[in-house]
Symmetry: C2
Subunit: 425 residues, 2 copies
């Protein structure tokens, strides 16, 4: 009986550092195998759990050590990601039967699922349901999300880099705005990701150096948006400083719980179809205060910005991948390696296992104490939390002016099952 093989897969919205986790998983598994531990081939599923269901597997053994290393500086999901959840039982019976067949056919004994809260549930299902289908497997969720909302993890790999990029971009844009404010643009609105939580938007508060009073407003989903109060705050900042910058999370909400983008913001039907809360805020400010407004929506650019990754984040992303393999070889299953902060100054952290049942599909929200009473500014406590997460640079290599990314072979593993299995239409 050959040693069990490992299957790694990526899930959900990707990040600038999810591939650093892939590197951590693959390098650690290779080292373990070389030192005689019970681990065979290291496969990756193409497009997350969908590739596992489709028996669309990649043999990472075809990649050189140098190629695997390039994952450290490559954004996106090198093996493809997916937005797909396994159905619960009993509806999902056919899916689990299929997964068990694929895992048995390829002797998969370890499963590493790299994602956020939703993906943790998939890993939990694999850990707890596949044995019922005659396929016991060690299943580990590996954390990743720029949303920073994984319950028992002090921070989430991917977040620090997105936060660093967003705060840097805002600081730079504020330097621009400050020079235009006298005779032209008075307000700049920058939209960042965060449908349910305001972690990235809050981190944008770092754009203003500590102790500096300045015209920057933060809008997060955790604080209800009140149009009149907001416009008064913008007006006051323009009066005092000449200009005002605003960082807004895409999911900012009204008191009634609707997202501003759903409500239309300015009441013009159709606007909500465009998505984008920044243009809504911009129109509101322009029409109410009669000032020139510029706006930006970062979208994928913020979560893919590997060129400005946080060194802390890259290190943690690698470390959770490494820990996942270590846990698996120790026989731990149905867990996620999470980051525990043990000291603020100096910043110290360790990785500990957290049971998946305790953190699945639950969101960690921004503590109220991270924002000032008016909800618009960052507190010292928040700065203490955020600063180490964005610290350090981890420049990728450049060629001809542009960052170089991994070029993997992605060698398919020969199929062993006769049947196909489609879950997408």
């Amino acid at each position: 009986m050959p040693a069990p093989n490992a299957l790694y897969a990526q899930s959900g919205g990707v990040t600038a550092t999810i591939n650093a986790t892939a590197c951590g998983v693959i390098e650690t598994a290779r080292q373990a195998r070389r030192s005689g531990r019970l681990i065979g081939h290291i496969y990756a599923a193409r497009n997350g759990i969908l590739g596992a269901l489709a028996e669309d597997l990649i043999d990472t053994g075809a990649e050189s050590a140098a190629a695997i290393r390039t994952l450290m500086h490559t954004p996106g999901g090198a093996f493809g990601s997916c937005r797909f959840d396994l159905s619960p039982l009993p509806q999902g019976r056919a899916q689990y039967r299929r997964l068990a067949a694929v895992f048995r056919a390829h002797n998969i004994g370890y499963f590493f699922y790299n994602g956020g809260n939703g993906s943790a549930e998939t890993a939990h299902q694999v850990a707890t349901i596949l044995p019922q289908f005659g396929c016991p497997v060690v299943s580990i969720a590996v954390p990743k999300t720029i949303d920073n909302d994984i319950l028992h993890s002090d921070s989430s790999p991917g977040f620090g880099s997105a936060a660093k990029f967003a705060a840097t971009s805002l600081r730079e844009a504020m330097a621009d705005l400050a020079s235009m404010g006298h005779s032209s643009t008075r307000v700049f609105v920058m939209e960042v990701m965060g449908r349910h939580t305001g972690w990235v938007a809050a981190a944008c508060g770092l754009a203003l150096p500590a102790g500096r009073d300045g015209p920057l407003l933060l809008l997060t989903p955790e604080i209800h948006f009140e149009r009149r109060r907001f416009l008064a705050a913008v007006r006051a900042r323009i009066a005092r400083h000449g200009w005002c910058a605003i960082a807004v999370a895409e999911g900012v909400k009204l008191r009634d719980g609707r997202r501003l983008t759903q409500a239309g913001g300015d009441g013009i039907p159709g606007h909500e179809q465009l998505g984008g809360v920044a243009p809504l805020i911009a129109t509101m400010v322009r029409e109410s205060l009669q000032v020139k407004v510029h706006w930006s929506v970062l979208d994928y650019v913020q979560r893919a910005a590997r060129h400005l990754a946080s060194k802390t984040d890259v290190g943690q992303a690698y470390a959770v991948g490494r820990a996942a393999v270590t846990y698996a070889l120790q026989g731990k299953t149905d867990v996620m390696p999470v980051i525990q902060r043990t000291s603020n100054r100096p910043y110290r952290w360790q990785i500990v296992p957290a049971a998946l049942a305790g953190l699945m599909n639950r969101e960690k929200r921004l503590p109220r104490g991270f924002l000032t009473a008016d909800g618009y500014r960052l507190t010292a406590r928040a700065r203490t939390y955020f600063t180490p997460l964005i610290r350090g640079e981890a420049w990728p290599p450049f060629a001809d002016g542009l960052p170089v990314h991994a070029q993997l072979q992605l060698k398919p593993v020969a199929r062993r099952l006769q049947s196909a299995f489609r879950v997408l239409p």
Copy 2:
């Protein structure tokens, strides 16, 4: 009679490297003064020509050499910029009389105006009209614009850095999109600046490595937007690659000359008020092709992104500032130092003076030969042009995870005139 003083000012939309030009002007003028050349104080006008009219001057002599050096890595306009043009004669008589009074009161003999095509006209007016008011002044326009549309300059300082950031961001977002395309987002639209010209949008074509076929479409104002042809091109790329990325210039136009944002794109009244052609394109693709679309609008973020400046651009921005002072001390006036490319491989360039009368308010457009016949892709000729402009990195210093910017004292020069002068409402 003391040596004449110099006045430097910034105008128009600022860039990530306009302050490198300020550094070039100030350092070169200081060196000239130390070596006994005829140059006195080096002043800056706050907020461009508006500060000159308002007698709102800054004494850069109060800044240490180290502080002036930090301008090399500081985005925005450190002395403030403006959107304001002098009126032509005879309407502008009061403005010129005022300028002459301010220049005489502060013994300004050299004027350096750092801007784009519009600012070149201001510098020309100062050179040619102020003598009629008894105030001869050596006036030099110093080029800067991310639009890259200065007629006789091979490239414009500021452009290379904006292009590098936009192309890098698109390459990174494409890595993200490629991993999401299987089960989620199929199309990503990134909007860049360029109201009249597609230089930045075209440079985004570099996101795709040379010789690589890939699903990337470029939309520029130089090629009329045709909805049906565009949607067919997107559909074909999704069919072949699974996904498609689009870089679009804000000023993309219909055949009738209207901008897509003016026309509304989807015909829903009110949409055009939001600005932003990316959400229009995104809605069009989503509704026509029934696929999930993400979009981003870079706006100020792209032109302020000093953290990812092009080393070529930073060097050229400094060099035009240096040349401006050299020209002034040689008695050249009514000129702009422009960049002349003398070799592609290796890339070589020099700075030569161009008469302002020949380049004012004329735009250099993207050559048709830079785009393929269908208008959607970059040609090899375009790559040869663009690549050296984005080459090399010039990382700013970081502290606590964020870039450090200049903190100048901006010491005011004591006013000498009794009267005030207001041009803004």
